[in-house]
């Protein structure tokens, strides 16, 4: 009698666990699809959370958490700089439009391309990411959530996020960071550019799933 009760209990628990798992995946699938629909994305949200898309996420986030990205996504009003992400020297400030203060603009020093004489980096539209897009101090999952949230991503839909991540010249500068003022090459992100671009697209096409922490 005791044995059969125990067996019955185990079976019930198994059924409950499977149901919860299925329900969770279904909710996740619905949420992802709804998000993609709401964003007006032409990228199909398959929401097939495969190992491949998880690998793509890992690859993408290893780039987005790199100093070449995070130095300009600070959580305060001072940019970060250098390999050790120290506060930008010379009292440089975010300013009202993320391009510096009225007479100390980003482009007082940073032009449209790297300057190998001075070691000052440059790319078109050199600026800080708006404070809503602060990534400094966030985990990779928190960054990804922030990136997908229209309230903190500048109102971009998934397609526009992919475009920003894979085509914007300031983002792609990370793979051509030039040399510092001592002539030492700046560190590039850990994944080659083409591989990173492919990973971003793969992750988005698979439903832009963000794994749990």
């Amino acid at each position: 009698m005791r044995k059969s009760n125990l067996r019955f209990g185990i079976i019930l628990s198994l059924i409950a666990s499977v149901s919860i798992l299925l329900a969770h995946n279904f909710t996740d699938f619905k949420t992802t699809n709804k998000k993609a629909k709401e964003s007006g994305s032409i990228i199909s949200a398959k929401a097939n959370i495969t190992d491949t898309s998880s690998e793509a996420f890992d690859k993408m986030m290893s780039v987005l958490t790199h100093k070449r990205c995070v130095n300009c996504h600070p959580s305060g009003d001072r940019p970060r700089q250098g390999e050790d992400s120290h506060i930008h020297r010379f009292e440089v400030q975010r300013g009202a439009d993320n391009h510096g203060t009225p007479a100390l603009r980003c482009n007082t020093c940073h032009q449209n391309e790297n300057n190998n004489y001075s070691g000052v980096p440059g790319a078109p539209d050199w600026a800080l990411a708006p404070i809503e897009m602060a990534w400094e101090g966030l985990s990779r999952v928190e960054i990804a959530r922030s990136m997908l949230n229209p309230a903190s991503n500048g109102g971009r839909n998934l397609e526009q996020i992919v475009e920003h991540l894979t085509e914007h010249e300031l983002v792609l500068w990370a793979w051509e960071p030039g040399v510092d003022s001592e002539g030492n090459p700046r560190e590039k992100p850990p994944v080659p550019k083409e591989e990173y671009i492919a990973a971003v697209k793969e992750w988005a096409e698979a439903g832009a799933h963000i794994p749990e922490e």
Binding site: N107, T108, N115, S118
Partner: protein, 155 residues
Amino acid sequence: MKISFTINGQPKTVETDGNTPLLWVIRDVLDLKGTKFGCGKAACGACTIHVDGNAVRSCSYAAKFAEGKNVTTIEGLSDGEQLHPVQQAWVEEIVPQCGYCQPGFIMATAALLNKTPNPSDDDIDKNIVNICRCATYYRMRKAIHRAAEIQSNNS
């Protein structure tokens, strides 16, 4: 390459490697020696000029970017014999010591007053970040406030 721009109201065309820092075109090609070389790393601000009215560190500004632009150096800041308010204030407050970095400070301050005519101390701290090894900062701060006053009176 040929690069054409206006400098201190004069149209100029120079033949140079486009990546040459504009500082060296100004000093060595156009023979305007008021703009100084300090650190060469866009850090000290001694080479500050205006490009289309904005302060720019000319040691870190490739000459090719000047194409079609309006460049002003310390030599072109005054209105003929009439000193710019910042220059006038610098004289009144006897700011310079060795003087080497001062053209950069004056150009940076003139750019600040264009955007913020009556700067607070905080505005000065956040906009004028050039370096003076004689540490004339205290007199400069007074001179910046005085320049704002002169500018306001002139207008």
